[in-house]
């Protein structure tokens, strides 16, 4: 066997291993990219760049460690570089603080007592807000949106999220808390706008 063939064989193996390890996460990566970038063409570009970068750095990936989190970390960097924008730290940006149990409080304190039924019937609550969940999520600031995507959609643990976004776990916790309360306010605002509830 000449050396060229050995190298070719090695490359083939490496490529096969890369594909087997990373392709299963393509759908998740695409969805996260689509939610962050909003446009299909943009999302496709981000995922493409992510895979090229991941392939280039595949030797740095430690086998047996969390590949999905590794890919999401790359995706995040691609996203940030592409738009030359930093996902600002919400701790330095002023956002309206939303109280705990916002939606619950709105529903229970409302004059029309029929809203209390939402608390007893999950089906009605789902009808009430279900269709707006995606638009509400879309409307969140990037730094809130990303933690909700990572936690609620992708099911990453706080520790994994902390690794992906490069912030301490305490930050992940408080950001998720604020993001979810913010999301509840958005859901309530949608309901009001659609005339489902009266202010």
């Amino acid at each position: 066997m000449n050396i060229r063939r050995v190298v070719a064989e090695h490359n083939k193996d490496r490529k096969r291993e890369f594909e087997e390890t990373t392709i299963p996460y393509m759908n998740s990566l695409y969805n996260a990219a689509l939610r962050m970038a909003r446009e299909r063409a943009e999302a496709e570009g981000i995922v493409q760049d992510t895979y090229l970068l991941a392939y280039k750095n595949f030797n740095k990936f430690q086998r047996g460690t969390n590949c999905k989190a590794w890919l999401f970390k790359i995706l995040r960097n691609v996203f940030i570089n592409r738009y030359r924008k930093n996902i600002k730290s919400p701790d330095t940006v002023q956002y309206e603080e939303v109280e705990n149990y916002y939606l619950y409080n709105q529903l229970t304190s409302h004059q029309d007592s029929s809203y209390i039924d939402f608390l007893k019937e999950p089906g009605r609550l789902e009808e009430f807000i279900g269709e707006d969940v995606n638009s509400a999520l879309q409307g969140l600031p990037d730094e809130f949106k990303e933690v909700v995507i990572l936690s609620d959609i992708e099911g990453f643990t706080y520790e994994e999220i902390s690794h992906i976004i490069g912030s301490p776990i305490g930050t992940v916790k408080s950001r998720l808390n604020r993001a979810r309360r913010f999301l509840q306010k958005k859901l309530w605002d949608y309901a009001v706008k659609k005339g489902l509830v009266k202010r």
């Binding site: 393509m26 969805n31 689509l34 496709e44 995922v47 149990y101």
Partner: protein, 103 residues
């Protein structure tokens, strides 16, 4: 007390102060503290000891219990409703081809 053995009758003989310490360790948390840990609870991120504290609080506090139940339902709805879009089939082919070129 014999080494390594712990009998109920020993427990009965414990001084009052030690009972107090036991209950203080497992003591009620406030409603505010429970609210702060709501999402850690729902995300399954609490340590067993903290989880028990929240559970105990919820068993004893009707207000918090109702709110937690509501939040749990809402949390499930949000997770169910953010279903994923389908991956465009052309994208996978495109990426695989690009990797080919990179070799």
């Amino acid at each position: 007390m014999k080494e390594g053995k712990f009998l109920i009758k020993d427990l009965i003989l414990l001084p009052k102060k030690m009972y107090y310490m036991f209950f203080k360790r497992h003591a009620m948390i406030t409603c505010e503290e429970a609210a702060q840990r709501l999402y850690e609870y729902l995300d399954g991120e609490l340590s067993p000891a903290d989880y028990d504290k929240i559970k105990l609080h919820l068993e004893l506090c009707r207000n918090c219990c109702q709110r937690f139940e509501f939040e749990e339902i809402l949390h499930t709805i949000i997770r169910d409703k953010t279903k994923s879009d389908k991956l465009p089939p052309s994208l996978k082919d495109k990426i695989l081809k690009e990797l080919e070129v990179k070799e």
